[in-house]
């Protein structure tokens, strides 16, 4: 028995010296092809239109654009508002991640789902809901926040705290509690435990979440415009204006290059910070414990976040129930029709219920696509590397799949039109383009949710399984899957919510006979009429409720005996 094991292990090593790089390439090939066709190609096509003027490369013109003082102002605003949004999301998201994943709180699952709902709400609606609260005439008007930078940062936090909670929370949940307990037993204060034991162990997840949130904040479009009252512009809003309104492709290309550069720098920094983690993932997550007196700070922060998230949502809900001067369900009943202006007109081509169905079907596609590709990417980037080159390649791959978050949806959207028009890539009119675009947006979230946990699996467990005769597939199923199952479901919930709420790329690609719910909401909000407004809000409430229910249901799916060990 001993002999057999040792022989198979030596021959295995010889075999693996060649097969490892090959497997790496093989696994990465699919995701890379997807990224190449649906991201690199369209974006390059758009950049080429900006750089090439009358058949010759015009770098000088692009550099001139970058020298404009306005561009510097816009870049500066983008960086500091995104940084502020990220800090705020972390400040409220981390305590909430702790409270909702480590403490045995009542209703913690529904609360987790609830906090993800903002992801699925279109910014137009949230903007209106936020502004109805913050406007001088609104209930919070006395704060004077309408159109201020603070309102923008609050809006960014509203949307992004969920990323911190989910990405860090799932890692925190599976964290071995014993080192922290040992530290406490040795006399460390709770703060010392957090700083010296817990946070270092969470570092990979923390860095992941931070970089994703920063990218989301830096490329947020609707929040900056709606809540900033046009006083502020970011690189993203500037690219939109230049491309969509002015068709100034050269200036847009210049800003896109700037955007990509910022993203690359950020990713390199994040990569440096994300040190190889200790194998700290427990196969059986420790049971959440009851809240103690020391948890008050975390609970207060969670409460604050809930208020921030619930206030605009409550405003939405109340608005959807307003009928004239009273209350009622008229708007919800009208959802089954095609919209009703006074004369009984057809505002929408399809009833809102159909749009919900389209949204759900699109979201299912976007979810499986992003999970499939995301899982492959996560596996490739987290396997233990041998040698510097391999490690470099892996972390490079990791960063490459984050890029779609950092590039403007307008650029990618127009890029689809000009790059994917001819066979074999005549895909621009395919109904699958919408879920594919949404999957690309969700992909970094999926990777960043799964990878930190997968990276925490002790490679020796896999080796042990292999030396005991388990096939690679079986090793994955027995070693990795139980650990990665929960983050995988969390990622699925993420992808689903992102897809349900995605508007930028979708409005660009959606076809009229099958509009998604956010597109319909946008259209309802674009016309006068009390019922139209109430219907837009009612549709948003339906979207929010659907998201919450689906996310809850997805998280209920579990490996039946993940706790068998």
């Amino acid at each position: 028995m001993r002999d057999m094991v040792s022989t198979s292990s030596t021959s295995g090593r010889r075999w693996s010296s060649l097969s490892r790089p090959l497997t790496l390439v093989g696994l990465a090939l699919g995701p890379l092809a997807v990224l190449g066709v649906f991201f690199v190609l369209p974006v390059s096509a758009m950049l080429a239109r900006g750089f090439v003027v009358d058949g010759s490369l015009d770098v000088g013109g692009v550099l001139d654009v970058l020298a404009r003082p306005r561009v510097h102002r816009v870049l500066w605003f983008t960086l500091w508002s995104a940084a502020a949004g990220t800090v705020m999301s972390l400040a409220l998201g981390l305590p909430a991640a702790y409270a909702l994943y480590r403490l045995d709180l009542p209703l913690r699952r529904p609360l987790r789902a609830l906090l993800l709902v903002p992801f699925a709400l279109p910014t137009v609606v949230v903007g209106v809901a936020f502004r109805r609260l913050l406007a001088d005439s609104g209930p919070l008007g006395f704060l004077g926040l309408d159109g201020s930078a603070i309102a923008i940062v609050l809006g960014l936090t509203f949307f992004n705290a969920a990323v911190v909670i989910r990405a860090v929370g799932t890692a925190w949940e599976g964290l071995d509690p014993r080192p922290a307990e040992a530290a406490a037993a040795l006399g460390a204060s709770p703060w010392q435990v957090l700083r010296t034991v817990t946070l270092p162990a969470l570092k990979p997840a923390l860095v992941s979440a931070t970089s994703v949130v920063f990218l989301f904040c830096a490329t947020s479009f609707g929040v900056v415009l709606t809540l900033g009252g046009l006083r502020y512009s970011s690189v993203e809003t500037e690219i939109y204006l230049l491309t969509n309104n002015l068709l100034d492709l050269r200036a847009a290309a210049a800003l896109s290059v700037l955007q990509i550069l910022v993203v690359v720098v950020l990713l390199v920094v994040a990569q440096r910070l994300r040190a190889t983690p200790d194998p700290t993932q427990e196969r059986t997550p420790p049971r959440p414990r009851r809240a103690r007196r020391g948890d008050v700070a975390a609970l207060v922060a969670t409460g604050l976040l809930l208020v921030l998230v619930l206030a605009p949502m409550t405003s939405l809900l109340l608005g959807s129930l307003r009928v004239g001067d009273g209350w009622g369900l008229a708007a919800y009943r009208a959802l089954a029709t095609t919209g009703a202006s006074p004369g009984g007109a057809e505002v929408l081509a399809v009833p809102v219920t159909d749009a919900l169905l389209t949204s759900l079907r699109t979201a299912v596609d976007a979810t499986w696509m992003s999970l499939l590709v995301g899982l492959l990417v996560a596996v490739v980037v987290t396997r233990h590397s041998r040698g510097r080159v391999e490690r470099r390649v892996r972390s490079g791959l990791d960063a490459v799949f984050m890029l779609p978050l950092g590039v403007s949806a307008v650029t990618v959207g127009f890029g689809f039109l000009i790059a994917l028009d001819e066979p074999p890539l005549a895909l621009r009119d395919s109904p699958l383009l919408v879920p594919i675009a949404q999957a690309l947006v969700a992909l970094p979230l999926v990777v960043r949710t799964i990878a930190p946990v997968l990276g925490g699996v002790d490679d020796r467990q896999r080796q042990a399984a292999a030396s005991l005769g388990a096939s690679p597939l079986r090793a994955v199923l027995t070693v990795d899957l139980p650990v990665v199952w929960k983050p995988l479901l969390a990622a699925a919930g993420f992808a689903f919510a992102v897809s349900l709420g995605e508007f930028g790329a979708t409005s660009f690609l959606a076809r009229d006979d099958h509009p998604t719910l956010p597109v319909v909401i946008y259209r309802l909000l674009g016309h006068p009429g009390e019922l139209n407004y109430a219907m837009a809000l009612a549709a948003s409430v339906v979207l929010a409720a659907t998201t919450a229910v689906v996310v809850l249901a997805v998280e209920r799916l579990r490996v039946p005996s993940a706790g068998a060990f």
């Binding site: 406007a135 415009l225 046009l230 006074p342 057809e346 028009d421 005991l468 660009f508 959606a510 674009g526």
Partner: protein
Amino acid sequence: MRRILRRAHRPGTRTITTLVLVTAVTVLAGCSLVGEGDDEPATSPGGSSASPGQEAPREVVLVTHDSFALPKKLVKAFEADSGYELEVRASGDAGALTNKLVLTQDSPTGDVAYGVDNSFASRALDAGVFADSGVTLPDGAADYTLDDGTDRLVPIDTGAVCVNVDTRWFEEQGIPEPETLDDLVEPAYADLFVTPGAATSSPGMAFLLATIAEHGDDWPDYWADLMANGAKLTSGWSDAYYVDFTQGGGDGDRPIVLSYDSSPAFTLTEDGEATTTRALLDTCFRQVEYAGVLAGAANPDGARAVIEWLLSPEVQAALPESMYVFPVVSGVELPEDWARFAEQPTDAYTVDADEITANREQWLTEWTDITSR
């Protein structure tokens, strides 16, 4: 050891079974778009195998903006009468639509485009996006053609962007309502006006154009006065109307808003006998939306048929309630509320389409400087 491995094996198998089941159920339940669209030709009336004229394409593709909406029965009637199958590709606003057409000029995304408006028309015309339409204009439509490009862009609908006031508010306050653009800079109307910005909203752009038509090169001074008088800017129309306007259903505190000439038909009193808002007809900018056959279209005959259908009395009559715009063809009956409460301006501001295309960037840059000071 072996026992542990065998035990460990079980959850894996079960998980896979669960996954396969979940996937199968969702796909079977039709919760996926995979496979959509492939079956369309098979169900089309008079599929290619049945028709004797193998050469003529049966499908015609209409590219339009995402405000496009027409009753299904009109589409069905078109398909039955013409024998074409109409595929609508709607996305983005008028600006996005125009740019899309310009960018895909070498391989157009459809046969016919509808929704390019007078503020973007010359960008599309200059780029050579449209071919001669060959459509004869019905009575009335000729009033809305462009000076240049009449042969290529056919007017389909019109509407005007006008300043609206809350008549009830002014009555209660005992202040006379404003009437003109110049009134808006009077101290009596300080802090009462809200408008979407020109850079981010197409009605906002139309309002900027109205002020340019009125004040010519002096428009920056007018805007400086307007901002000094406490005008409020929002990013989009819905924001201005539903949050800040006093008749937008919320707690808005501004009784003057930029909206459309048709908006008063949507703010009726409960008995439906009166409206609580009024469009100031001396402040309006005329918007016209056009349709055209795309150069290089696969089905130019079908494209022409679509334009003729858009000009037909049935579609023209459906425009107000489906897309909130007025028909261009004369003699088309308006819905009752529109006929009573939506008054069209007789003499709206206009700016030459060429001039808009030539100056858009400079105007917007200057406007942004003034408004973000």
